[in-house]
């Protein structure tokens, strides 16, 4: 009950934030600040401000560089994700948030032109070691993609696929249970309970996104990477997903990319601000949003940019 209250209070507060954002954007005027930011030489080659390292790191990245062919998408990023925390990643479009997120479960391996340098560990083990198994890694580090990508199969099969290949359900009844609870937690079950055998691709965009969330949590990964999971959702579904994240945090670790400052403020414990492939600032969410250290961070969260 108390948390509900707190939530709604926060939402109210967020409205104010939104208003301020809008007014700020207006007062900033013709958008000249946007260009000046992109060209700002200070944004290149500097140390991350704040505290990228934590004591109980579930995953940690050290000096990670990612290249797409010749083009460098991420430079020298070091960042820890703590056990049972929600880490939010924010930053302007094209700054490398998705790219960084995808290095955490080696999803970039399937892009031939992509090259990853540096060291990333999960529970202290280097995930990029040659003999490391990507199948096991991806079962432990699940992912919800930026664009909803359900399998062209039935809703049931979409959710059941992961548990099936990993042998998580011994019989049909257990599987039904897993599917139902996953769909419930993604707050999709009530909408689709009568059409579980219908194709998942026939759902609306927002429903598809929730289906993908259900599919990801069905295999109970230790870490869930979410790339803008709420970009296609209405406020009600968004609130439910955020509730889910809060609930999942008890047992899991979550890294979420979001374009909504309010969402980052609501759900995360720590926030990382990316800019042009660099990690500019990282710290406690409260501090980042109230007392940003770096000019770029401040500009971004106050809406003078992005």
């Amino acid at each position: 009950m108390a948390s509900r209250m707190e939530n709604s209070e926060r939402m109210g507060a967020d409205k104010n934030v939104t208003n301020r954002t809008v007014t700020d954007a207006h007062s900033a005027g013709s958008g000249g600040s946007l260009e000046s930011l992109h060209l700002n030489p200070d944004a290149r080659g500097q140390e991350t401000i704040g505290s990228p390292f934590v004591k109980r790191a579930k995953m940690s990245a050290r000096d990670v560089n990612v290249f797409y062919g010749e083009k460098q998408a991420i430079s020298n990023i070091s960042l820890d994700i703590a056990q049972n925390e929600i880490l939010a990643m924010i930053g302007p479009s094209g700054c490398g948030k998705s790219t960084f997120l995808r290095t955490l479960n080696r999803m970039n391996d399937i892009i031939p032109a992509c090259r990853v340098e540096g060291k990333i560990t999960l529970d202290g083990e280097d995930i990029y070691q040659k003999e490391r198994d990507t199948v096991l890694l991806r079962a432990r580090v699940g992912m919800v993609f930026q664009k909803p990508n359900p399998f062209p199969k039935s809703i049931y099969e979409n959710v059941a696929y992961g548990p099936k290949i990993h042998g998580l359900a011994q019989n049909k009844a257990t599987m039904d249970e897993i599917v139902e609870s996953s769909l419930r937690r993604a707050s999709l079950f009530d909408e689709v309970k009568d059409q579980l055998d219908k194709p998942g691709t026939g759902l609306s965009g927002g429903q598809q996104q929730r289906l993908c969330i259900a599919r990801a949590i069905a295999v109970s990964p230790e870490i869930i990477l979410m790339d803008e999971p709420c970009s296609a959702l209405d406020p009600i579904a968004t609130a439910r997903i955020e509730e889910l994240m809060n609930e999942l945090k008890e047992n899991y670790t979550i890294a979420i990319v979001t374009h909504s400052m309010q969402q980052a403020a609501r759900v995360s414990q720590r926030t990382a601000y990316f800019h042009l492939g660099e990690l500019i600032e990282v710290g406690e969410t409260k501090e980042i949003f109230t007392l940003p250290q770096h000019q770029l961070t401040e500009n971004y969260i106050t809406g003078r940019f992005g």
């Binding site: 479960n105 999803m107 399937i110 031939p112 990507t134 199948v135 096991l136 991806r138 079962a139 699940g142 992912m143 993609f145 664009k147 990508n149 359900p150 399998f151 062209p152 199969k153 696929y161 992961g162 290949i165 990993h166 993908c212 599919r215 990801a216 069905a218 295999v219």
Partner: protein
């Protein structure tokens, strides 16, 4: 910026609108004309084949009062069933015909009279008597298969106005046939022989079955080799092979192979499979292997295109929940690519079904009377049979040629229908 400018923009768009719509209408018209032209040609072709081919599905029988006289049969007093099998049924038929037309006395005319009945009638009589030896010494009215020329006259395909010398059916034969028809001794029946027999020198005894079964075996071999190998190669090249100079070279070579004239594959088959590996000549096995080599590039190219067209997001989704590469391919990529793969395979198989040249090189042009019982028996295939019949001078084979084309097309339609059915099943999932 102001409303004046808005108005001008609208006017400009409106002015261009009429032109754009006109262009669209014209484009649609061209498209419709193209489709129409295609249909007209197809219709003409089909109509021609069907008109020429349908008579082949019927043939005439003539009711002859057969006298199973023991002397004419050349049987001893106490005959065995072996004697019956060797008896002279031709003599019986000739005698019966002479009895029906007693005024025929000149030898040349007699020979013409005998030519009203097919020599196949002898074998059906023999079978009857062997089955029922009590017939010997009796007289029976029996429907005997007419000679193809007699049948063709009865079908109205012989113009009486042409010079007698230019006709196979002479005036006197016409008279006899007219007389038989008036007596109700002729009958048009469905031609079961055409579907149950192999090739023959006599048009009325020739059938398509040997070629049909030959085609079936050949295509079976082709499919069993080309489909799995082609799809595997496509999967490997798309999903596993590294991109380097070698795979580029392989790709170029596959594309080139698709353009190699089919007769080259026939020569290869002759040199490698028959001369070197000493596989049987004229057999569906070798024909199937040669056609498989020919269709492989088609299947590989279309399968690769179908696999490439699978959205990468499906890959990511499957890998993201921890599917292995093989699971991703088998569970997600292949089902989505399957309709495309099937379309490509069916195009390849249709090509193989219609292919003649390479099969001529490996001896599948033989005169095949027996229906092949396996992939190593001598056989021929439908297009080669069509080629052989089209080449025969007898007019009875002209209609057989068109009929064989109809059978070939029915085969093709059935193959396509199977592919469409499979595709539907995959698409519904």
């Amino acid at each position: 910026m102001n409303s004046n400018e808005d108005y001008r923009t609208t006017a400009l768009i409106q002015a261009s609108l009429r032109k754009r719509y006109a262009r669209e209408r014209r484009f649609r018209l061209y498209g419709m004309l193209a489709v129409l032209a295609g249909f007209v040609f197809l219709f003409l072709l089909l109509a021609d084949i069907i008109i020429k081919g349908t008579p082949a599905f019927t043939q005439h029988y003539i009711k002859v009062t057969v006298d199973f006289d023991r002397d004419s049969l050349g049987l001893p007093q106490n005959f065995t069933s072996e004697d019956l099998a060797r008896a002279d049924y031709g003599a019986v038929i000739k005698r019966s015909l002479r009895e029906m037309f007693p005024d025929v006395s000149i030898r040349a005319e007699k020979r013409r009279l005998y030519r009203l009945i097919s020599i196949g009638a002898e074998y059906s009589l023999r079978d009857m008597v062997v089955a029922d030896p009590a017939l010997v010494g009796k007289k029976r009215n029996i429907w005997l298969l007419a000679h193809s020329e007699a049948s063709s006259y009865l079908k109205g395909q012989v113009a009486a106005a042409t010079e007698e010398a230019e006709r196979k059916v002479k005036d006197v034969q016409m008279r006899w046939l007219n007389a038989l028809r008036e007596e109700g001794r002729t009958e048009l029946r469905f031609n079961t022989t055409f579907f149950l027999a192999g090739d023959s020198r006599e048009p009325e005894l020739a059938g398509i079955k040997a070629a049909l079964v030959g085609s079936l075996y050949t295509l079976l071999v082709t499919f069993c080799l080309a489909f799995p190998i082609g799809v595997m190669a496509a999967i490997y090249l798309e999903e596993f092979a590294p991109r380097n100079r070698l795979t580029d070279l392989i790709e170029i070579n596959i594309n080139n192979l698709a353009a190699v004239p089919s007769i080259v594959f026939g020569l290869l088959g002759l040199a490698v499979f028959i001369n070197f590996f000493e596989l049987p000549r004229s057999a569906p096995l070798v024909g199937g292997i040669v056609l498989a080599l020919m269709t492989l590039p088609t299947i590989i190219i279309t399968s690769r295109a179908a696999i490439q067209a699978v959205p990468p997001s499906i890959h990511e989704a499957a890998l993201g929940v921890g599917a292995s590469k093989l699971q991703t391919i088998l569970h997600h990529v292949l089902p989505v690519a399957m309709p495309g793969i099937l379309t490509g395979s069916i195009i390849g198989m249709a090509q193989a079904l219609g292919e003649t040249a390479p099969l001529l090189m490996i001896g599948m042009v033989a005169f095949i009377m027996e229906v092949p019982a396996g992939v190593t028996d001598p056989a021929t295939v439908l297009p080669v049979q069509i080629f052989l019949w089209a080449d025969s001078p007898e007019r009875g084979f002209t209609e057989k040629t068109s009929a064989a084309i109809m059978v070939l097309m029915a085969f093709l339609i059935m193959m396509n229908a199977a592919a469409v059915y499979l595709r539907r099943r995959f698409e519904r999932k």
